[in-house]
């Protein structure tokens, strides 16, 4: 598999580490135990397109948000994951 790092260009997957589902947002300080429990333990595991977090540790050390089809491995987009897991503001 090859991932086109927005900073380094297309690179071999051995340069990257995989974290998983990019959806969870770290709850704010007052969100309570249930919200944090969900954040820590519950992950989507989609057969199809999903947003994932990858780390370019063998390159620029950027955390990337990769939209990928987990069945075909087609990569639809790669962008910096800046703030992708930042605290969700509960209304």
């Amino acid at each position: 598999m090859r991932i086109a790092c927005p900073f380094c260009g297309p690179r071999e997957n051995s340069e990257f580490s995989y974290l998983g589902d990019a959806k969870p947002k770290r709850p704010g300080p007052d969100a309570g135990e249930d919200a944090v429990y969900e954040y820590v333990y519950l992950r989507d595991n989609v057969a199809g397109e999903m947003a994932e977090l990858w780390y370019h540790g063998g390159g620029c050390r950027a955390w990337l948000q990769v939209r990928r089809n987990t069945v075909t491995h087609e990569i639809l987009s790669v962008e910096p994951a800046a703030g992708a897991g930042a605290a969700s503001v509960t209304p």
Binding site: M1, V40, Y55, R61, A62, W63, E74
Partner: protein, 995 residues
């Protein structure tokens, strides 16, 4: 042995180099061949028919094919450490002095005792292993397994280490062309002319593919001339690379391919500094699969008798190698292409015994040919062949009208049609589609960027191959924006398309082989069908059809067809199994490349490594690092004596230890303090500039992740250290926090682990030693550099260093950092400057002893299952801020009263050795899962206490200080009494480190 002994070699013709005769041996007998031969063609030229015994029944077997799909002619190549089992004689290039031996026979190929397995064949049928496993296990172990292991199995691997080396390499291109036959050459020419970077991989040593066997005329030139012209044009293109002896073995995601280059397999021994094989990863934007097609056999009784060969292979041996597999040849075919073999045989002066054509009556042309050369054309099928190790006895023919006939011949060429090589295009789980007109599967879609052309795409006519190859190469280049003129497609006026009537299997009583290599017969398929294993994936696993090293290249389709027939389904309804890489077997050595022995993984050396090695240090592997474990001196009888001396020297004077393996991270920026507050459980924003603080990090689930000392060197600059083991992971974690969780913080991280050499200097005379090293202008007094101070200092000689007054040993101690390139010099200087104080270098073992004596936690306690409170560090958790792991650390089970927490442990019998891993049980209780109350995590012999001591994780440990418990060590068979105690064994008041 002389060249003249090649009784089956034609006097002229072929593409062999008769000016280069070669000698070789097979099963200890000497033979001759020529440069350009394969082992198989040389054996054919020498009239050797019997080349091996089959896997299960030990049937005599001959050569079936002329390519990498060969199921029968597997040999042990070379001897000694280079002996390689299961190499295909059809792909081994002959070299002078080659030594090969047949496999699976004892005592000899001619007389193989285990051929009695044929008599036992009723019990060796499909599903044998599964059924046998159902029998009593005792019988299996004692009887069947040893018996099967002796009887089955292929060649013997070398028992010595492989003396050759293998390497891995990367290549990148615009267009990758797989196969150097007419299709591939046309594709590469078009793509290359358009201006694309092209790589052409060809499995064989020379370009040309089937043209080398079947000839033909292309653009008015004889095939070999056209190949040479194409090769010249390609070689002249700067961006085209031709890789021969290179098999594309796998197509992976996003244009990544694996290819095995047999760099020096054609030589007895690779030249110095050259690899035997090279495993390529080729990244291509477009791939044209021009991998051709493989002819398939027909299943009939005795179809494995030596002398029976694929029709196309017969042509290859005659035309390419000038070697005749038979003197008197018969043909069994269901298509016109097979008839080409008759032409080749006649041209080579062989006698044609007859043609058995399963289709309608022969054409007028064919009848004319037959009468001219005096052979019969029989409309019917080969019912069975009688024969054995001496070859074909007779060929029994069942005529279409019901009558029978017999052909006398010593060779039988068989053609059941051709299968396009759909392996590569189907490796991403794509299923090929069925084409009735050629009775074969063809690619149906392919991985992105890949297309198939020519015979691999079901186009068997030469001119179609050339046209498809040209247009696929041109399209791939155009797709990528290359606009150069691709010229006209090469063309040929070869014979019109071949007609074919499907024929898979001639039913009969004799053993009819579907999978030659795994000895799967037509009746095994029938048994699988009867027993309900009718899906292709079940069929495969139940009968082992297609599971041998050839992966069923010459057998899968016949197996499917028989199953389809038995179950009343069509072949496409029956389906195909999944195609997986590698396309041909790849040696583990090639996959490992240089990663073996001492190069299995990379090795990291500390800055003082060479100095330590000169002193005779004993090193220990710590991850990738080699760390000095202790420094033995003359006369010391064991490690314990050395380590005890080192500890006493530190606690009584001064010593130093290289701690450069710690992870080191510079944290810069106006929000650096806030950032550290969020990743550590304790507070760093309030840390004064010039001070250091011990910090503890949790995972988000509340468990302890890592610890270390972090110093504030400036308002906006912290220097953070991690444990050796977690250096890389903590960096990754901190980058995650910085980028993904807290993007609003203005902070930057820089890994400086490799930039700084760091030494711990410890002991009451540390300051004396430092004064010899550090510039006299620096104030190192207790007031000028108090405990937990950290700042930059000038060394004598002008070098700037970072100095931290921190202690892991409990002694008065500093850590000093200098740029890594000065680490060696600093160690040597400290030895000279410290000689007057008896300075002693110490290793990780003494470091560990002193940390246990001081009750500091380390790797065995930071095991991913402990909380800060478990480690006795719960009070460090700030309640004034949020931090990673805060909420989950408060979960009920993580704060439960009965958690296992760190305590000190001493054996009650002071002379006894304490062992880590021993379970801690309340006195009087019977050891078991219910009574298990924790375990000993770290132990050492304490020179200061004169006995073994340890740390443990013990349930309710802190309430139980002073309790006598039992240590239960079932692994070592030990039970003894221990006392639970406070974890700080030495200087509990901590006065020494502050002094």
């Amino acid at each position: 042995m002389s060249a003249a002994d090649q009784t089956q070699r034609l006097a002229k013709g072929g593409l062999i180099d008769r000016s280069k005769p070669l000698g070789f041996s097979f099963d200890g007998k000497s033979f001759a061949g020529y440069h350009g031969d394969t082992l198989a063609s040389a054996l054919v030229a020498n009239g050797v028919r019997l080349v091996g015994r089959s896997f299960k029944y030990h049937r005599p077997r001959g050569i079936l094919t002329a390519g990498s799909e060969e199921p029968n002619a597997l040999v042990e190549l070379r001897t000694g450490a280079r002996r390689e089992p299961n190499t295909r004689a059809t792909t081994i290039e002959l070299y002078d002095g080659l030594v090969a031996a047949s496999q699976n026979r004892w005592p000899s190929l001619d007389f193989d005792i285990l051929s009695v397995n044929q008599l036992a064949s009723p019990i060796l049928v499909a599903g044998f292993y599964y059924k046998t496993f159902m029998w009593p296990a005792k019988l299996w172990e004692a009887l069947y397994e040893p018996l099967i292991r002796r009887a089955a199995g292929l060649g013997r691997a070398a028992t010595q280490s492989d003396p050759d080396h293998y390497e891995k390499a990367w290549a990148h291109c615009d267009v990758l062309v797989v196969g150097g036959g007419p299709t591939g050459l046309a594709a590469a020419l078009a793509a290359g002319r358009a201006g694309a970077r092209v790589i052409l991989c060809e499995e064989e040593p020379t370009l040309g593919g089937r043209l080398l066997s079947d000839g033909g005329t292309i653009d008015g030139l004889p095939a070999t001339d056209w190949i040479a012209q194409a090769a010249d044009e390609l070689s002249a293109m700067l961006d085209v690379r031709i890789m021969t002896r290179t098999t594309l073995t796998g197509a992976y995601d996003h244009g990544t391919h694996a290819a095995l280059e047999r760099v020096n397999d054609h030589l007895p021994v690779p030249p110095e500094h050259q690899p035997r094989q090279r495993l390529w990863r080729i990244v291509a934007k477009r791939t044209v699969v021009a991998a051709g097609a493989l002819e398939r056999p027909i299943v009939f009784g005795g179809n494995d008798v030596p002398g029976i060969m694929l029709a196309s292979a017969v042509r290859t041996y005659i035309n390419r190698y000038a070697a005749t597999p038979a003197k008197r040849l018969a043909l069994f075919t269901n298509n016109d292409d097979g008839w080409k073999t008759v032409d080749a045989a006649i041209a080579a002066g062989l006698t044609v015994a007859g043609v058995v054509d399963a289709r309608q009556e022969a054409s007028a042309d064919q009848r004319a040919l037959a009468s001219k050369h005096g052979f019969a054309v029989l409309n019917g099928v080969v019912d069975h062949v009688d024969g054995g190790r001496k070859g074909i006895g007779s060929i029994e023919v069942a005529l279409a009208g019901g009558a029978r006939a017999t052909l006398e011949a010593d060779g039988l060429a068989v053609s059941g049609g051709w299968n396009p090589s759909v392996g590569l295009t189907s490796q991403h789980r794509g299923r090929p589609k069925w084409r009735d007109d050629i009775a074969a599967f063809v690619p149906d879609g392919a991985p992105p960027g890949m297309s198939a052309a020519g015979a691999a795409n079901g186009a068997f006519l030469l001119t179609d191959c050339l046209r498809e190859g040209h247009s696929a190469g041109a399209a791939a280049a155009a797709d990528l924006g290359f606009g150069g003129s691709v010229g006209a497609a090469p063309s040929s006026d070869d014979a019109p398309a071949s007609s074919l009537t499907p024929l898979w299997h001639v039913a009969g009583k004799k053993k009819a082989f579907v999978d030659f290599q795994n000895d799967v017969t037509a009746s095994d398929i029938a048994l699988a069908a009867r027993e309900g294993f009718q899906s292709v994936e079940h069929l495969k696993r139940y009968t082992t059809l297609g599971m041998a090293t050839d992966q069923g290249k010459s057998s899968n389709l016949q197996g499917l067809a028989i199953m389809a027939e038995l179950t009343g389904r069509s072949i496409p309804q029956t389906g195909t199994t999944i195609y997986r890489p590698p396309y041909v077997p790849v040696a583990i050595g090639a996959l490992a490349g240089h990663h073996r022995d001492e190069n299995f993984h990379s090795v990291r050396l500390t800055p003082s490594h060479h100095w330590a090695a000169e002193r005779g240090a004993v090193f220990v592997d710590t991850g990738l690092w080699k760390r000095a474990q202790w420094y033995p001196i003359k006369g010391e009888k064991d490690w314990l004596e050395s380590v005890t001396r080192e500890v006493k020297a530190v606690r009584g004077g001064v010593g130093f230890c290289d701690v450069s393996t710690l992870g080191k991270i510079d944290v810069h920026g106006p929000n650096a303090g806030t950032f550290l507050d969020r990743v550590y459980i304790n507070t760093f924003s309030t840390l004064a500039v010039g001070k250091a603080r011990y910090g503890l990090m949790l995972r988000e689930d509340g468990m302890v992740y890592d610890d270390g000392t972090t110093s504030r060197l400036a308002e906006d600059h912290y220097f953070l250290t991690t444990t050796t083991a977690k250096a890389g992971l903590v960096m990754q974690h901190l980058e995650f926090c910085r980028q993904v969780l807290f993007p609003e913080l203005d902070v930057q991280l820089t890994s400086v682990s490799d930039q700084w050499a760091q030494f711990s200097i410890a002991g009451p005379r540390t300051r004396d030693l430092l004064c010899e090293i550090v510039d006299p202008g620096e104030d190192l007094s207790n007031e000028g550099f108090p405990f937990m101070a950290a700042r930059e200092v000038l060394l004598r000689g002008g070098l700037k260093a970072r100095l931290f007054r921190i202690s892991f040993s409990g002694e008065m101690a500093f850590e000093i950092s200098v740029p890594a390139r000065f680490g060696d010099a600093l160690a040597r200087n400290m030895m000279i400057a410290g000689e007057q104080f008896g300075v002693t270098p110490y290793g990780t073992e003494a470091l560990g002893v002193m940390r246990v004596e001081k009750g500091h936690v380390a790797g065995p306690e930071l095991n991913g299952m402990t909380t800060a409170a478990d480690l006795g560090l719960g009070k460090m958790m700030s309640t004034k801020k949020d931090f990673i792991g805060r909420v989950m650390a408060g979960r009920e089970a993580l704060v439960a009263a009965d958690r296992q927490v760190v305590v000190g442990i001493k054996p009650v019998d002071k002379a006894r050795r304490l062992r880590s891993g021993a379970h801690v049980i309340r006195k009087g209780e019977i050891p078991g899962p219910d009574t298990d109350g924790g375990y000993v995590t770290s132990v050492c012999f304490s020179p200061m206490l004169g006995q073994w001591i340890g740390l443990g994780l013990v349930s309710r440990g802190r309430e139980r200080i002073g309790e006598i418990a039992s240590a239960h060590d079932p692994l070592r068979g030990e039970d003894y009494e221990i006392e639970l105690c406070h974890p700080v064994f030495y200087d509990p008041e901590g006065g020494r480190q502050r002094g």
